[in-house]
Amino acid sequence: MNAAAFVEQAAQALTAGIMVGCVYGLLCVGLAFIFGIMRVINFAQGDFMMVGMYLAFYLATHVLGTTLLGDATPFVAAALTVPVLFIVGGGLHRLLIARTTGLRGVGLSAEGHQAQLILTLGIALVLQNGALILLGTSPHTVLTTLSSSAWELPLLYDDFSAVFINQARAIAAVLSVGVAFGLFLLVARTRLGKSLRAAADNPEAATYMGIDVDRAHRIAFAIGTAVAGLAGGIIVAYYPVQPFVGVDFIIIMYAGVVLGGMGSISGAFWGGMVIGLVQQLSTLVMPLQLQNAAIFAAFVLILLFRPQGLFGRNVERA
């Protein structure tokens, strides 16, 4: 392989990595609300994404149809999953999760983490197998002209090398960045966002401020669920959905949130980005099957040198 061809491949992998990384970033931001900020272990996050993928798929193919909205169909369908998943997440929290979080979690062993783990693992199994029974095993994806068209970006050093940018993936990446940035502002700047952080930081003191800690947890959980659904809806425009697709992504989400630093929304996004880049760039030097191994090698290395994560901050007095 000559140098020019390698540069072309590297540029292609880098572009793919950035685009995949943006979507992983959004997925990680969703989990950051639940795990990073509220410190609730949620094993079902990947399956919320799966639900969002199926929902967007059926909305796009059976309800909306492609005639009226054209290429925008999958993204409109993805947006429509947000209110649905928000309500699902809020409802699940009220009925089940709330028994293990907030002030009630304080009284449980390991602050409720063990109970959360088992509970959300149960929800994950119900969602996975429910989808299997109701929807079957065959994978689906929303195919539009965008999924199969690409922009060609010529590389300037010769006349024939170029980087191809898949349009569906590019739009997915841009949408992901936009939503992630909006959520970052929500947490960093708004009263609601600050109250979520306060409720997670010290539920007892938050109660003394008059903050309804249960409600704060419910909102964070609902936002996290809705973001997983939205990301799923965006992804299904180029990645096929099947009942166990969440398993492929849940590990990436946790790795991204921990990598970025617990509690940081921007950190979670960049954690997802790093994973996307490592995954795609590793294909240059390693067989494709080892890309997940590469992710964990990078994960271990980064945590070895920065245990608090890339963006983790030490907020306690030394």
């Binding site: 002030l103 009263r191 600050k194 109250s195 952080r197 306060a198 930081d201 010290n202 007892e204 003191a205 938050a206 109660t207 003394y208 401020m209 008059g210 903050i211 309804d212 800690v213 509690g263 901050r313 907020v315 306690e316 007095r317």
Partner: protein, 234 residues
Amino acid sequence: MLEVENLSVAYGGLAALREVSLAVRQGEFIAVVGPNGAGKTTLFKAISGTVPVRGGRILFEGQDLLTRPAANRAHLGIAHVPEGRRVFASLSVLENLEMGAWPEAGRKVFAETLDRIYALFPILSERRAQFAGTLSGGQQQMLAIGRALASRPRLLMLDEPSMGLSPVMADTIFDAIRELHHADGLTILLVEQRVAEALDACSRGYVLETGRIVLDGPVSELSTDRLRQAYLGM
């Protein structure tokens, strides 16, 4: 303003408070003193709703607090500065104060209250952008008090504000509390282990011992002899 009637609280089978009654009237500065484990913090938590109450009543301005969820009580005008300060470590100093202003009453006049808080504790103004967790113990106590003031409370409850502080810092905190009572006319309920300082500052006191009120009255009547007898059993 605040009436606690025959309040009983138990953890498991263990009684923490037995039929405790006390009253705080508008504009008063009341101290509850007593040794470790007497139930002082439990009393505050019962008023704020973070421990389950077994029996009795708590009335705040005529309203039955026990029918109100815990998160609702700050909105009624009760501010609780908890034992151990409990600032939001991962939030900035200013964000902590903003969270204190969560109730409607504090939200509307936050800018004005902020000036008052910064005047009382200038260091908080200097450190406004810093994470609260990185403050010293004394500064965290100032922040915890400032955060409570931000809600524009009608009743300020302070749980061991001098705990773990140097004598000089404890004096600074006590001076600030006294000023809040005298200059701002705030009604204050204070729980303290430092009996002398607490009784020196307040108008009336209660002595709590193993979950019971064993002595109460104006400071002049809580003479040191009687107090020493009740407090140390001598």
